[in-house]
């Protein structure tokens, strides 16, 4: 048994992640409009950003990976980067995490265990079906995610900001 391994070996200090900072990382767009980066002097023709806490802290703990999904590092908070760099980061994240935003709920009809939603996504009228409603509605803060039978996700960004009629329609199914 290795006697050097003690409970003290694993301390909060040793668990601290290696962060990517503006000092060691510069983002840019490649010629096909994908996000590229130079991290610690190494060039990556395309990088992928993924949020560790996409719902609670969308701007913190963002993992940078190469195209083969090998992790390069983690951004602790994007505010550490310049405005121009933040724009690039946010553009990449908004594409990956894009979710159609529901602005109005026209109707919710329940038939045989399925819930049929007619909603407005901006000016576009969208209909979708949700099964097992208590599991398909996810609340996080003021936002609500609805997941339909095909796995498509729709978001209400601020439940209090949608029209009161729409709120009343969805409210019975929230808890």
């Amino acid at each position: 048994m290795n006697s050097n391994i003690t409970a003290n070996t694993i301390s909060p200090e040793t668990l601290k992640a290696e962060y990517v900072t503006p000092e060691n990382c510069v983002f840019s767009k490649n010629k096909n409009s994908f996000l590229a980066a130079t991290v610690s002097g190494k060039d990556y023709a395309r990088v992928i950003l993924t949020r560790a806490l996409p719902l609670a802290m969308p701007d913190s703990y963002i993992c940078i990976s190469d195209i083969d999904k090998n992790e390069i590092g983690i951004i602790e908070h994007i505010s550490a980067f310049s405005e121009e760099q933040q724009l690039l980061i946010n553009d990449e994240l908004s594409q990956r995490y894009y979710c159609p935003v529901i602005t109005k709920i026209e109707s919710i009809k329940e038939k045989m265990g399925h819930f049929y939603f007619d909603v407005m996504i901006g000016d576009f009228k969208k209909s979708f079906a949700v099964k097992d409603i208590s599991k398909s509605i996810r609340q996080h803060g003021d936002a609500i995610d609805l997941i339909d039978v095909d796995g498509n996700r729709f978001r209400i960004v601020d439940f209090d900001a949608i029209p009161s009629k729409s709120r009343r329609k969805l409210e019975p199914y929230l808890y």
Binding site: M1, N2, N30, K31, N32, S33, F34, A45, R46, P54, I67, Q95, R96, Y97, Y98, C99, P100, K109, E110, K111, M112, G113, H114, Y116, I121, F124, K126, S127, F128, A129, D132, S134, D148, V149, D150, G151, N152, R153, F154, P172, Y173, Y175
Partner: protein, 786 residues
């Protein structure tokens, strides 16, 4: 699908991998030559993820992306039957020459996907789509890439070009259905439910007859008890002689008692017959669900929660039971009561009846809105209740962890919060009930008062007798119960139909794994396994096995190693045909497993896995699970071969020890040895050991290895293991990484190669050395060692 044939409009037939003809015409008009299109796919977004219709296709010259809109229109034909038509508008077509594309691929994001073009190692984004369409896009990519590579588009037999749409309303519907559940009419559910009563038609006719008779008797009661009492006995202006009065009262009392008695007897008979039928019907329903569940494939169980499936067998069947045992009789009785009472009321006084009927719509409106409010409140209370139940279940299952982290107080707080919310929801429901019902009561009371006032005037004018007025009021009161019931029977039926739909969903579910009509049997199985270009994915666009090929000769042992998630267990599942491959084949003795009889295949494959499941019953019962007629001699011999006999004999009840849920606690090693004995008694020709000893300590593992060596004798064996030392006996080893074979050969060959296998073996050997059981890394080949 229970819907009547030909009742709904039929969508136009579309050739596999092609657009509908009307769309082809529109694309043609917009300048696209649709004659030579090879494969087509429909999307729902543009490159900026804005919703629109997108149509993707390719031919031998290029890739084409058309953007536009589509609209479902119902038109009436000459036959007056509706026809569903789609109107397409093409706004823009983009062409990309085939030479500008090396390959296509899809990228999966959170809620969307993206089609990517690859050219000279560079990627560029082409089109976005909703994540629900990724399977269609994957099929398109496959067809395109294969065409670019081989000049022939690979089109999967299961490939769907377009999203499946309901044949009635045109909205999305589940892939295995022609109608969305919304258009799957409730009447058809009702019809299917009534079919369960098919064997009891005489009893049902008798029940209905009794109920109608009982209702007629009940409706007749006020005529005697109120009208006759007041008009014929009490209201005689000259007064009856005492003897006659007593006689008349006696006759009246006996009549009332007799009518009430008759009504009660009829109710008892009706309930007795109903109670005799219903448990049998529920038994049939439960049996049907259970039988259907046994037919379904492993994939079905992976996508459903155990609790939800158990609910279907128990709770949904009971929901149906209570609706039919309480709801349907009450519905018949109350409908008959309303009809009977209204007829009598009109016969007594049509003027008063008109006043009453005039107020009815108002009552209905109150009941309708009240019902909507209560449904919401009930649903909310149910949701909170479900959350409380889930938390209790979570807490019970996680007790060891809770105690290990000393989190009892935090758990209490968590439960207290959720339970508090449930209490609040219940409180709101109770308060609303407490407020709404008295208001409704006052309204109905007000109606009675108005009727009483108008009736009083009519009595004073001599248009009506006192007895008639009082019995009229009694009839009015008699209507309250049935109307109240009818206001929420729809809610009750909705719940029953909802349960029935879930029941039928299981009964109608098509197993993923089905046996061909002309499936073949083994005459004399040798055990040769041949895997060709195998491809498999649990979710679209997330391949687990990628064009994997390997052969195992009969009687040989193949060891499969690889990291967690490499696809090792999936290979085992595909050999046993627990899942079907997306592409490629698994052949046993040269016959594709899809062509074999399932029982025959499974009987010849023994699976010993890390997850050991012992059924509730004795150890002997569990050992003879695969061969229920095995003699005790065979059971003991199998237990001895699996090194299980010794520990079984040390248990107080030996082979009769109860195991499974609530039974004797056995260690992981003991349970595994029972499962090995179970497989030995099955005597399969092909043996799959899927991490059989992964959860065991080294000592137990060594003991079990002896059992496994016994088991492997004379069989084709596929052993999957993390601990490479357990695979030293393997004739060949395959190292799997990311669904592909990266190294293949004998143990010594792989050691010599000094690749991934060597690296892993070295790490593990050195780790084992630190606890004094490590083996030296061999330098020569296996044959030399032996």
């Amino acid at each position: 699908m229970a819907t009547k044939k030909g009742k709904h409009p039929k969508p136009p037939e579309t050739e596999k991998g092609k657009f509908p003809k009307s769309l082809m015409l529109e694309l043609n008009k917009a300048g696209l030559d649709t004659q030579s299109l090879i494969y087509c796919c429909t999307g729902d977004m543009d490159n900026e993820a804005c919703y629109c219709s997108s149509w993707l296709s390719f031919d031998d010259k290029g890739l084409y992306i058309a953007l536009g809109e589509e609209e479902e229109i119902k038109t009436k034909r000459k036959s007056k039957r509706e026809k569903l038509e789609t109107k397409y508008t093409v706004n823009h077509i983009q062409s990309i020459p085939l030479d500008d594309i090396d390959a296509l691929e899809t990228e999966r994001y959170v809620s969307t996907g993206r089609l990517i073009i690859k050219k000279d190692g560079e990627q560029s984004g082409l089109l976005r789509f909703s994540i629900g369409r990724i399977a269609q896009f994957e099929n398109f990519v496959r067809a395109f890439n294969s065409y670019k590579e081989k000049g022939k588009a690979e089109i999967l037999s299961s490939a769907e070009t377009e999203e499946k749409k309901c044949r009635k309303c045109g909205k999305s519907c589940p892939p295995d259905k022609d109608f969305c559940p919304k258009c799957n009419k409730k009447s058809s559910t009702a019809l299917r439910l009534f079919k369960f009563f098919g064997g009891y038609i005489p009893q049902i006719v008798l029940i209905i007859a009794i109920m109608l008779l009982g209702t007629a008797v009940t409706v007749f009661v006020p005529q005697i008890s109120t009208r006759s009492l007041f008009d014929d006995v009490l209201a005689n202006p000259d007064g009856l002689p005492a003897a006659e009065l007593i006689k008349a009262l006696g006759v009246l009392m006996l009549s009332i008692f007799g009518v009430r008695l008759l009504s009660t007897v009829l109710t008892v008979i009706q309930q007795y017959i109903t109670a005799a039928i219903m448990p049998k019907v529920v038994y049939d329903i439960k049996l049907k669900i259970f039988n259907a569940m046994q037919r379904l494939s492993v994939n079905f169980y992976s996508s459903k929660q155990t609790g939800s499936l158990m609910e279907r067998v128990v709770r949904d069947a009971n929901n149906i039971y209570w609706f039919f045992i309480d709801g349907v009789p009450a519905l018949i009785i109350d409908t008959a009561t309303i009809i009977g009472v209204v007829v009598i009321m009109f016969a007594m006084s049509w003027k008063l009846s008109l006043v009453t009927i005039g107020a009815m719509p108002l009552i209905f409106v109150c009941l309708f809105f009240g019902d909507r409010v209560f449904r919401r409140l009930h649903h909310r209370s149910w949701l909170y209740g479900a959350r409380v139940s889930a938390m209790v279940s979570d807490n019970i299952n996680g007790q060891r962890v809770i105690k290990a982290f000393s989190k009892e107080d935090d758990e209490y707080e968590r439960f207290s919060k959720v339970s508090g919310e449930h209490t609040k929801a219940d409180l709101k429901l109770s308060l609303t009930e407490a407020t709404a019902f008295p208001i409704l009561e006052i309204f109905v009371m007000g109606l009675s008062t108005v009727v009483l006032g108008i009736g009083g005037v009519m009595v004073a004018k001599g248009e009506m007798t006192t007895g008639t007025l009082l019995s009229y009021i009694v009839y009015l009161e008699m209507l309250r119960g049935p109307f109240d019931f009818l206001s929420w029977i729809s809610n009750w039926w909705a719940r029953c139909a909802d349960s029935a739909q879930r029941v039928f969903e299981i009964c109608d579910a098509k197993p993923d794994i089905t046996e061909k009509e002309n499936a073949v049997s083994f005459e004399n199985l040798r055990g040769d396994i041949e895997i060709n270009e195998l491809e498999f994915e649990y979710e679209p666009a997330r391949p687990v096995i990628k064009k994997l090929s390997l052969n195992v000769k009969a009687g040989y042992m193949l060891g499969i190693v690889g990291k967690t998630g490499a696809g090792k267990t999936t290979i085992a599942n595909l050999i046993a045909r627990l899942y079907d491959a997306k592409e490629g084949s698994v052949k046993i003795d040269g016959i594709d497993v899809k062509d074999l009889k399932l029982t025959e295949l499974r009987r010849n494959i023994g699976l010993v896995s890390q997850d050991i499941y012992l059924f509730i019953g004795s150890i002997a019962d569990n050992i003879r699970y695969a061969k229920p007629d095995a003699t005790m001699d065979e059971v003991i011999a199998a237990a001895k071969a699996a090194s299980a006999h010794d520990f079984i004999m040390k248990l107080p009840d030996a082979y009769e020890t109860r195991v499974g849920a609530g039974g004797q606690k056995l260690s992981g090693g003991e349970r595994q040895r029972i499962s090995i004995a179970r497989t030995i008694i099955q005597n399969p020709k092909i043996l799959i050991l899927d991490e059989a000893t992964a959860a065991m300590d080294t000592e137990t593992e060594r003991n079990i290895q002896n059992s496994l060596t016994q088991l492997k004798e004379g069989r084709t064996t596929i052993a999957i293991a993390h601990r490479l030392s357990t695979l030293r006996d393997a004739d060949y080893l395959a190292v799997i990484e990311d669904g592909k074979i990266i190294e293949y050969g004998t143990f010594s060959e792989l050691i010599k190669q000094k690749g991934e296998f060597y690296k892993q073996y070295k790490i593990q050997s050195e780790a084992l050395k630190t606890i004094g059981i490590g083996a030296e890394i061999p330098t020569d080949n296996k044959e030399d060692e032996q």
